[in-house]
C-alpha cells in the first residue's frame, strides 16, 4: 500500500531565501509524523504548501500514491487534508456547533440551519475520539485546550484523514498537553494520520512514530524515537551540540533588591488577581515564579513595573518605595522588564531593530540631545547590541516585524539586559522560541544574576523554572502556595502546588 502522503523534492524559493530545498517526506496511514525544526527552518512553509496556501516551485505531492496539485485550502480539504493553525480560527461568541458548521452549513427545508443534525454528528465524533467537547458550549467559555479540540472536530467533520497540527502544544498547560497526546493517540488508532509540527523535543519523542528534522529549509535527517534522544535531536536541529541544562554555578544572594509586601492587584475584570502576596528577591539570585497561566503572575509583574495600579500593599526596589510609581520612574531605578507578550508590549513591530533597542532610553543621552534624536548614536547602539546578542537581522533598519520570534525576543533581551540594572523581571522569556534562542536567553539571565542583579523569572514551563531558578515560588489563584529551594523542587511537588492541592 502506498503511503497516505508523500512529498518529493519540494522546493520553495522566496526572493533571497530558499525556504524549502528539495524536501522529501512520507506519512504512513495511522502514523504520527513529527516535523521538528527551529523557527525559520521551513516547517510552516512546507505545511502551507501542503495546505495549498503556497505553490511549490519544484516537487510533487502524492496522496495515496496519486499525484495531486493543491491550489488552495478547499482543494486540500477535498483531498482529506486538514490543518489546525497555531492561532485558532474560531468565532468566540458562537457555539461549538455553529463554529464547526461555518462554511459548510447544512440546511433544512431550504432555509433553516440544521443545527440539530450537525450537533448530533459533533457529539458522535467527540465520543468516537474521546474529545469530550459539548457541541452546545459557547467557544469563548472554553479553555484553550478544548478550543483546540473544536478545531480538530472541524477537520474531522469535514472528513479529513490527514491532520496537520502546527505547534499545537505552544498554547497549552502541561495537563492539556497530556490530554492532547491522548487525543492524537486515539485519532491514529482509528486510522487517521497526523503531522505534528513542534520544536519541543520531549513531546516529539513521546508522541511520534517517525521524526523528520528540518534545518534551514533542508531535511537533515529522519529518525524514530527509539533511535534518538533529546540530545541527538537537538543537535540535529541546531546543527551543533546543545547544552540542555542551564550551566550555572551556585548563587551568592546578597541584599534584598525587590521587596513585595501584602500586594493586592486587580485584574482586567476588576477581579482581585493578586491577593496579598509577600516575597523578596535578593541580588545575585534567580527566583522563579511557577504556576499555570492566569493565576496572577501577569498582574504581579505588571504591578511591580508600574503598568498596573496596586490596590494595597507595598513594592520596594533597592530600598525605595515604588508602589504605584510610573513605569519610567521604576525603569530609572534600575529595573529591566522582559514582558510576557513581546509583540503586544515589548516591541513596536513597524519600527526598525534600531528604534526598538532604544524604546525606553530614547530620551536620554547619547540617544537624544535635548529634544533631538541622535540617529548616529542609535545606530551605533543597534550595531553593538545586534553583534553582542547575536540578533539575526538583515540590517539594523529592518522592521522587527520581519524577524523571527526568537530574534524579536533577542531584541528585547538585548535592550533590557544591556542596561546596568539591579532588578530584572522576565515573563515567559522563552515562550515559543527555538532551542538555540532559549539556550542563549537563559545564559544571559544567569549572567545577569552573576553580575549581582536580582532576577525574577515568571514561566509556565516547569522545565524552564526548574533549570533556571535558585528558589521557586508557586502561584495559585493569586497567592503563593509555597516557596521551594531549587534543590528540593521536584516536578511532582511543584505540580501539586500548581494545582493548588497542597501546601508544601
Amino acid at each position: 500500500m502506498p503511503p497516505v502522503l508523500q512529498l518529493r523534492g519540494i522546493t520553495k524559493r522566496f526572493p533571497g531565501v530558499l525556504a524549502n530545498d528539495h524536501i522529501d517526506l512520507e506519512l504512513e496511514e495511522g502514523q504520527v509524523l513529527a516535523l521538528l525544526g527551529e523557527n525559520g527552518a521551513g516547517k510552516s512553509t512546507l505545511m502551507n504548501i501542503l495546505y495549498g496556501l503556497y505553490h511549490p516551485d519544484e516537487g510533487e505531492i502524492y496522496i495515496r500514491g496519486e499525484k495531486v496539485s493543491i491550489h488552495g485550502p478547499s482543494d486540500a480539504i477535498r483531498l482529506g487534508i486538514g490543518m489546525v493553525h497555531q492561532h485558532f480560527m474560531l468565532v468566540p461568541v458562537l457555539t461549538v456547533t455553529e463554529n464547526v458548521m461555518l462554511g459548510m452549513e447544512s440546511i433544512r427545508n431550504g432555509m433553516v440551519l440544521d443545527r440539530t443534525k450537525a450537533s448530533k454528528r459533533i457529539r458522535e465524533i467527540s465520543d468516537q475520539y474521546g474529545l469530550e467537547v459539548d457541541p452546545e458550549a459557547t467557544v469563548e467559555d472554553l479553555p484553550v485546550g478544548i478550543q483546540q479540540r473544536v478545531e480538530i472536530i472541524k477537520l474531522l467533520y469535514r472528513n479529513a484523514d490527514i491532520l496537520i497540527l502546527d505547534e499545537p502544544t505552544a498554547v497549552l498547560t502541561p495537563q492539556e498537553v497530556t490530554g492532547l497526546i491522548r487525543v492524537v493517540r486515539s485519532l491514529v488508532a482509528q486510522g487517521k494520520s497526523v503531522v505534528f509540527i513542534s520544536h519541543k523535543l520531549k513531546e516529539v519523542l513521546e508522541l511520534s512514530d517517525r521524526i523528520v528534522v528540518l534545518r534551514r529549509g533542508r531535511s537533515v535527517g529522519s529518525t524514530t524515537p527509539e533511535e534518538s534522544d533529546e540530545r541527538s535531536l537537538a543537535s540535529m536541529m541546531v546543527g551543533r551540540d546543545v547544552i540542555l541544562e542551564v550551566p550555572k554555578g551556585p548563587a551568592h544572594p546578597g541584599d534584598v533588591v525587590l521587596d513585595v509586601q501584602d500586594l493586592v492587584v486587580k485584574g482586567d475584570q476588576e477581579k482581585v488577581a493578586v491577593s496579598g502576596i509577600s516575597f523578596q528577591v535578593r541580588g545575585g539570585e534567580i527566583v522563579g515564579a511557577a504556576g499555570v497561566q492566569g493565576n496572577g503572575q501577569t498582574e504581579l509583574v505588571e504591578a511591580i513595573t508600574g503598568l498596573r495600579p496596586v490596590e494595597s500593599g507595598r513594592v520596594m526596589i533597592g530600598g525605595h518605595d515604588v508602589t504605584n510609581a510610573s513605569p519610567r520612574a521604576i525603569t530609572e531605578f534600575g529595573t529591566a522588564h522582559v514582558p510576557e507578550d513581546r509583540q503586544r508590549d515589548g516591541l513596536v513591530l513597524s519600527y526598525s531593530v534600531a528604534h526598538n533597542v532604544i524604546l525606553n532610553t530614547y530620551y536620554v543621552p547619547p540617544f537624544a540631545r535635548g529634544p533631538l534624536m541622535q540617529e548616529t548614536a542609535v545606530a551605533r547602539q543597534a550595531d553593538q547590541l545586534i553583534a553582542q546578542f547575536d540578533v539575526r537581522t538583515p540590517s539594523p533598519q529592518t522592521p522587527v516585524a520581519n524577524l523571527s520570534g526568537g530574534n524579536q525576543q533577542k531584541v528585547i533581551v538585548a535592550r533590557e539586559l544591556s542596561r546596568p540594572v539591579q532588578l530584572t523581571l522576565a515573563s515567559q522569556p522563552t515562550r515559543g522560541l527555538d532551542v538555540g534562542s532559549i539556550e542563549y536567553i537563559h545564559a544571559q539571565l544567569v549572567k545577569k544574576r552573576d553580575e549581582g542583579a536580582a532576577v525574577l523569572v515568571v514561566s509556565a514551563e516547569l522545565d524552564e523554572v526548574m533549570a533556571l531558578a535558585d528558589r521557586i515560588l508557586v502561584m495559585y489563584e493569586g497567592r503563593i502556595m509555597g516557596t521551594l529551594d531549587a534543590t528540593e523542587a521536584t516536578r511532582e511537588r511543584l505540580g501539586l502546588l500548581m494545582a493548588g492541592v497542597a501546601t508544601a
Binding site: V17, G40, L372, D390, S404
Partner: protein, 434 residues
C-alpha cells in the same frame, strides 16, 4: 566548537536565517537601491488609482452627455468620435485649467507681456493657491494618524481658527505687518490647537473616543461660527450680511502678484511647505515625534517604555488642531481677507482623503494636496469650457480614495503582485482602542 565562534560565524554568514518563516523576507538589494525601489513601488498604487479614477471620470462625462447619445443614434462610428471629442474637450480644459497650456505659457514668456504671462500661468497659480489650505489640513489629519488618532475634527478646528484669526485680523489695529501677520497666524494655530486638544484631553482622561468627540466639537464650532457671524452677531460686519469685517491690510499674507486681484497665490504656500518640512522634522527627528509615532503604532509598548500616552495624545491632538487651524488662517489672511458664515465646504473632510493618499507622510500629503488643488482648479476650468459640472471632481476624488483605501481593486485590475506586509500603512487602531 567554541560557542562564541559559532555565533560569530553565524552573524557573518551570507545566508543568515531570517524571518519567522522565510516568506517574510524579501529581496536583498543594496540598502539604498532597495529603499528607492520601495518608494517607487509605493507610488504605483496611488498613480494607478488616479489614472483609473480619471478613466472612470471620463466615462461619467461621456455617459452624461446627451450629444454622445445623439451621435450614437447616427451610428457607432459617429458615437465613438463624438465621445472622444467630448472627453478631449473636457480633459483638455481640465489639464489646461490645472497646469496651464504649455504652448501658451511659452508664447507668453517669449512675448514678454505681463498680462499675457499672468493669464498663461494663472491656472498654475490657482492650483497652488487651492492646495495651500489642503496641505495644512492634510498635515493635521496625517499627524493624527501617525499618533494613532483619527482627527475628524479638522473642519471644526478650521472654523474656530478662522474666527480667532479674523478677529485678530480686523480688531487689532495699528500694528506693523511684521507683528500683525504672525500674530494672526499664531492666533489661528492656537485656536485650532485648543479645539483639537479638548477631544485629546477627553480621550486621555476618560478614554472617550476621539472620533465621536471631534465630530461633536465640529458641531459646536459650526454653531459658534453661526452665532458669531450671524447678521446681527457679535462679529458681523453690520451690512446685514453674515460676514465678518475685512481684516487690516497689515495682517495680509503677502501676495506674489500684489496688484492683480485675479491671481491670489500668496506666501501662504511657502508657509505650508515650510510647515510640512517642520512636521516631518518633528515626527522623524525629535524625541516627541518618536513618542507620537510609538503611541500611534503600539500604545501598550509606549506605556511599557515609560512614555505618557495621555500626554502624547493631548499634544498630538493639539498639534493636529493647530495645523488644521493654519489652513483657515492662510485662507483668510491670504485669499479672502474676511470670514463668511458659510466658510469652508469640507476641507477638514478632504483632509482625511489627503492623509490617506499621502500615506500620512508630510511630503506625501504635500503631493496629494497639489493633486487635489490641480483637480479642483481643473474642474473649475472644465466647467467653464466644457460645461462639465464641478461635481465631477468630487467623483474623481472619491474614486481615488476608494482605490487607495482598497488597493486590492487596483491590484486585481492591473494584475499587480501582493505587497510585503510591512508596506501597508496602518493608519489608525480600531474603534474603542482607548
Amino acid at each position: 566548537m567554541d560557542r562564541k565562534t559559532a555565533a560569530e560565524s553565524n552573524v557573518k554568514a551570507p545566508e543568515r536565517a531570517l524571518g519567522d518563516e522565510a516568506d517574510r523576507v524579501r529581496g536583498r538589494l543594496p540598502r539604498g537601491r532597495r529603499r528607492t525601489r520601495g518608494r517607487l513601488r509605493s507610488l504605483v498604487i496611488p498613480f494607478l488609482a488616479i489614472v483609473t479614477a480619471l478613466i472612470i471620470g471620463a466615462l461619467v462625462i461621456v455617459f452624461t452627455d446627451e450629444t454622445v447619445y445623439a451621435a450614437f443614434g447616427d451610428g457607432v462610428g459617429r458615437g465613438v468620435a463624438r465621445a472622444s471629442s467630448v472627453i478631449t474637450r473636457a480633459y483638455g480644459a481640465f489639464f489646461s485649467g490645472a497646469l496651464g497650456n504649455p504652448v501658451r505659457i511659452i508664447t507668453a514668456l517669449f512675448s514678454g507681456q505681463g498680462t499675457q504671462i499672468r493669464r498663461a500661468i494663472y491656472p498654475l497659480t490657482e492650483t497652488i493657491r487651492i492646495s495651500t489650505p489642503y496641505i495644512f489640513a492634510g498635515l493635521a489629519v496625517a499627524l493624527g494618524f501617525q499618533g494613532g488618532l483619527f482627527n475628524i475634527g479638522a473642519e471644526g478646528q478650521y472654523f474656530v481658527a478662522g474666527l480667532v484669526t479674523v478677529f485678530v485680523g480686523y480688531a487689532v489695529t495699528g500694528l506693523p505687518g511684521i507683528i500683525h501677520l504672525p500674530l494672526a497666524l499664531l492666533a489661528g494655530a492656537v485656536g485650532g490647537g485648543i479645539w483639537g486638544a479638548i477631544p485629546g484631553l477627553l480621550k486621555a482622561k476618560t478614554g472617550a473616543h476621539e472620533v465621536i468627540n471631534t465630530i461633536m466639537m465640529n458641531y459646536i464650532a459650526f454653531r459658534l461660527a453661526e452665532f458669531m457671524l450671524d447678521a446681527n452677531g457679535p462679529m458681523a460686519r453690520g451690512d446685514g450680511r453674515p460676514v465678518s469685517p475685512e481684516i487690516q491690510p497689515s495682517a495680509y499674507l503677502p501676495q506674489f502678484f500684489p496688484n492683480q486681484i485675479e491671481i491670489r497665490v500668496n506666501t501662504g504656500f511657502l508657509l505650508a511647505l515650510a510647515v510640512a518640512v517642520l512636521v516631518w522634522w518633528l515626527l522623524y527627528k525629535t524625541t516627541l515625534g518618536y513618542e507620537i509615532r510609538t503611541v500611534g503604532a503600539n500604545p501598550r509598548a509606549a506605556r511599557y517604555a515609560g512614555m505618557s500616552v495621555a500626554r502624547t495624545v493631548v499634544i498630538t491632538m493639539a498639534l493636529s488642531g493647530a495645523l488644521a487651524g493654519l489652513s483657515a488662517s492662510t485662507d483668510i489672511l491670504g485669499v479672502l481677507h474676511f470670514m463668511p458664515n458659510a466658510f469652508s465646504s469640507g476641507y477638514g473632510f478632504d483632509a482625511i482623503a489627503l492623509a490617506l493618499l499621502g500615506k500620512s507622510h508630510p511630503f506625501g500629503v504635500v503631493l496629494a494636496s497639489l493633486l487635489f488643488g490641480a483637480l479642483r482648479a481643473g474642474a473649475q476650468n472644465m466647467q467653464g469650457i466644457a460645461q462639465v459640472p464641478v461635481d465631477l471632481t468630487s467623483i474623481v476624488q472619491g474614486l481615488i480614495i476608494v482605490f487607495i483605501a482598497a488597493p486590492e481593486i487596483i491590484r486585481k485590475l492591473y494584475r499587480l503582485r501582493q505587497p510585503v506586509a510591512s508596506d501597508e500603512l496602518v493608519t489608525v487602531r480600531g474603534w474603542g482602542g482607548a
